[in-house]
């Protein structure tokens, strides 16, 4: 059967099980948009290509399946560079198809030409420029295999227009096992001797901590983690990328470490005699000043990416392998080992938890809303399996801190890249992947204005997400740094609270818009929003601009110098 290259591409995507593509057509990708009409794949037409990328990421984070985005050449391709970088930093399986000018025009500065494989070389696991129509099924299979296996990540396939228009005999794509990738062999099982050595270190440690990162979620390893924690009795911290991997309500859960982690999680790592890192990478936001980080701790480091071992902190036992498989092996090896008496450690941790809980001062009569109180109300009045998708900044930190995450894949955000504007499209993608669940995007007023136009996409495509804007009329995190470290010299951070009028903007995009100024209106607004399921809802919560995120480890400071909430400081 002869088909075009464009048809071959769509059939190849269908063969990989793709159910949805987020995209926006243009000249070079135009031939591929014709067979989409006849395909089983749903296409979601975005308003800006960045939206397509973040939607695909939200979809992937919520479902565990690769997200797929398709855009045209030139500016279409460069507009999706930010999501690709985001996916690279957070190890999200993302497959991006870009149109390209015809092969004969490549290198001539043709209309809407850009070297997108060159541009994305450093922010993709791999990318391909298709130069032969017969390669399409194989390249697409390779792209999905590379994106989803090993340490997941973004890949890009650049697809010249003439290849799309060339006829070819359809050949079924190879299975993953049949692919010829001699340089790519992810190692899944940990070395048993190293697992044994790690389990022995764990058993004898007096002040150990399980330091759990996003890799445990990528590996679908939450159950294995619970078993390991309960088998060994070792307490758990969950990084920003791992919120939900371990239930916040569990007695062994210490919560989030890092720059805005809670005191106990930060200090437990700092005072630990053993850190068992499962799918985490000693990010600077977690370690603080590196040469002062966890000075007494031996390190067990489990990662599927061999290059992560010893990259930042030397590992005493470094285990290459899938986080779930190695965690299961560690649990099995621990079952036969008596654990050291850690009652003193438990008492120390409980003492810190009691002395330094996450805290904020409630709003007094007539004051603006407290952002932390809004998050807590959202959590209390939304279904237990609600998916939270955050942007980047203060609201993100409060959402990570003040929402109690009990199950995996209920928290999605932009961690490594810190991409402002992630929340709205990220929430839309999550809702597409999990249509029966409530999805709350928690956003700032600065972030919201970067990608808000995708709410038009959400309304048109019938994707009823809910967006809570914590509107403090500032680029709040930058404001916080200027207040604390630049002597309150506020430079270019004031956004004005009433422009745009968020209610009118929401309504102009076909959403329900609600504004909340008073504490007593918070819960009714949330309940009203949760009852609306036929269109997106935006709530403009007017929050207190003077609120800051605490605790805080100032940039470059040691984690031992964590700054707690003013009410918890000495003499307070």
């Amino acid at each position: 059967m002869k088909i075009t290259g464009a048809q071959s591409l769509i059939k190849s995507l269908e063969a990989q099980g793709v159910e949805v593509i987020f995209g926006l057509p243009g000249g070079a990708i135009l031939p591929v948009y014709d067979p989409i009409i006849d395909s089983t794949i749903r296409h979601i037409l975005v308003r800006h290509e960045q939206g397509a990328g973040h939607m695909a990421e939200g979809y992937a984070q919520a479902t565990g399946r690769p997200g797929v985005a398709m855009v045209t050449s030139g500016p279409g391709a460069t507009n999706i560079v930010t999501p690709i970088s985001n996916a690279y930093m957070d190890s999200i399986p993302l497959v991006v198809i870009t149109g390209q000018v015809p092969t004969g025009a490549i290198g001539t500065d043709a209309f809407q030409e850009c070297d997108i494989t060159g541009i994305t070389q450093g922010i993709t696991k791999h990318n391909w420029l298709i130069t032969d129509v017969e390669d399409i099924p194989t390249v697409i299979a390779e792209a999905f295999y590379v994106a989803t296996t090993g340490r997941p990540g973004p890949v890009l396939v650049d697809f010249p227009k003439d290849i799309a228009q060339t006829e070819v005999e359809w050949v079924e794509p190879p299975t993953f096992d049949e692919l010829d990738l001699p340089g790519y062999h992810p190692q899944l099982d940990g070395d048993p001797a190293l697992v044994e050595a790690a389990a022995a270190l764990m058993a004898e440690a007096l002040q150990p901590v399980l330091y759990v990162g996003g890799g445990i979620l990528k590996a679908r390893g939450a159950e294995a983690l619970l078993a390991l924690a309960e088998t060994t009795g070792i307490p758990v911290v969950t990084t920003l990328m791992a919120r939900g991997a371990f239930p916040d309500s569990h007695e062994l859960c210490l919560g989030m470490p890092g720059m805005h982690g809670n005191y106990t999680a930060i200090t437990a790592m700092q005072e630990a005699d053993l850190l068992v890192s499962l799918g985490a990478r000693f990010d600077d936001r977690v370690t603080g000043r590196l040469d002062a980080f966890a000075p007494k701790a031996k390190i067990v480091h489990v990662d599927i990416d061999p290059a992560e071992l010893n990259k930042v902190r030397r590992a005493d036992v470094g285990i290459v392998g899938d986080a779930r498989r190695v965690t299961e092996a560690l649990a099995a090896a621990s079952r036969t080992k008596a654990q050291a008496d850690r009652s003193a450690w438990s008492a120390t941790l409980s003492g810190w938890q009691e002395r330094y809980p996450l805290t904020f001062e409630p709003a007094e009569e007539g004051q603006a809303l407290k952002p932390q109180a809004v998050i807590e109300a959202l959590a209390a009045h939304s279904p237990a399996d609600t998916i939270v998708v955050a942007g980047v900044g203060q609201h993100q930190m409060w959402a990570a801190q003040h929402w109690s995450y009990e199950t995996p894949y209920t928290w999605i955000n932009s961690g490594g890249a810190g991409t402002m504007g992630f929340a709205v499209p990220g929430a839309i993608g999550a809702k597409v992947g999990e249509p029966s669940r409530t999805v709350w995007g928690i956003d700032g007023d600065g972030c919201f204005q970067m990608t808000a136009q995708e709410l038009v996409t959400a309304r048109v495509e019938g994707i009823p997400v809910k967006i809570a804007i914590l509107n403090n009329s500032y680029l709040g995190m930058v404001r916080q740094w200027q207040e604390m470290f630049y002597e309150e010299r506020y430079s270019e951070v004031y956004l004005t609270p009433d422009l745009p009028n968020f209610v009118m903007l929401a309504e102009a995009m076909g959403c329900v818009g609600i504004r909340v100024d008073r504490p007593e209106d918070v819960v009714p607004a949330i309940e009203r929003a949760n009852a609306i399921n036929d269109r997106p809802v935006v709530i403009d919560f007017r929050t207190d601009a003077s609120e800051k995120v605490f605790p805080m480890v100032p940039a470059g400071a040691s984690n031992s110098d964590v700054v707690v909430h003013p009410t918890q400081r000495e003499g307070a």
């Binding site: 494989t117 060159g118 070389q121 450093g122 696991k125 791999h126 420029l129 130069t131 590379v146 990738l181 001699p182 340089g183 790519y184 062999h185 990416d305 061999p306 290059a307 992560e308 071992l309 010893n310 990259k311």
Partner: protein, 178 residues
């Protein structure tokens, strides 16, 4: 597939460079991927030589000489291994490697100086590859140290010397020092 990257060498013996023998797939852009990786990770390359691999035409072999000061070798190897087109990496310390390099040099020398040049060439084991009335092009293949010495000698002895070196190629020594 990959040789064990050695670790901790710089703690014991001062090593200024490491040699990587890297087998890569002959795919478009593979050199750019490697060069880009070195630049974005802040690894310094002293030299890089590429040629088709004798054993299989689908592959090429690169010899990369890396500044050992710029990054731990295990990290360089780890990051290189993440490139999908990199098939195999062998990391060697200088004493573990048999290294060779080729130099071409065009020396401006008239009739009068030729005898002296021919003497140097013979002494170094170099050869004449081209000549004209006022210049001679010589070549020398040898250890990096021998090539360095020959180059220094030419530059010290003649007013105008144009040098092109290939960068090192290397294979593991068959009887490495213990």
């Amino acid at each position: 597939m990959m040789a064990e990257p050695f670790s901790g060498t710089t703690e014991h013996t001062p090593v200024t460079h490491h040699i990587l023998s890297v087998l890569v797939e002959n795919k478009a852009g593979v050199l750019s991927r490697i060069a880009g990786l070195f630049s974005r990770r802040g690894f310094n390359i002293f030299s890089l030589a590429v040629a088709p691999a004798a054993e299989d035409e689908r592959f090429s072999r690169l010899t990369i000489v890396v500044d050992a000061e710029s990054a731990p070798i295990a990290q360089v190897v780890g990051q290189l291994n993440k490139l999908i087109n990199v098939v195999e990496i062998r990391a060697m310390r200088p004493e573990e490697a048999a290294e060779r390099e080729l130099l071409l040099a065009t020396v401006a020398v008239g009739e009068a100086g030729r005898g002296g040049l021919l003497h140097h060439v013979a002494h170094a084991g170099a050869s004449i590859v081209d000549f004209s009335d006022d210049s001679v092009t010589v070549s020398l293949a040898g250890t990096p140290a021998a090539v360095d010495a020959f180059e220094r000698h030419l530059e010290a002895s003649y007013a105008s010397v144009e040098v092109q070196r290939t960068g090192r190629v290397a294979l593991p020594r068959l009887n490495p020092p213990a």
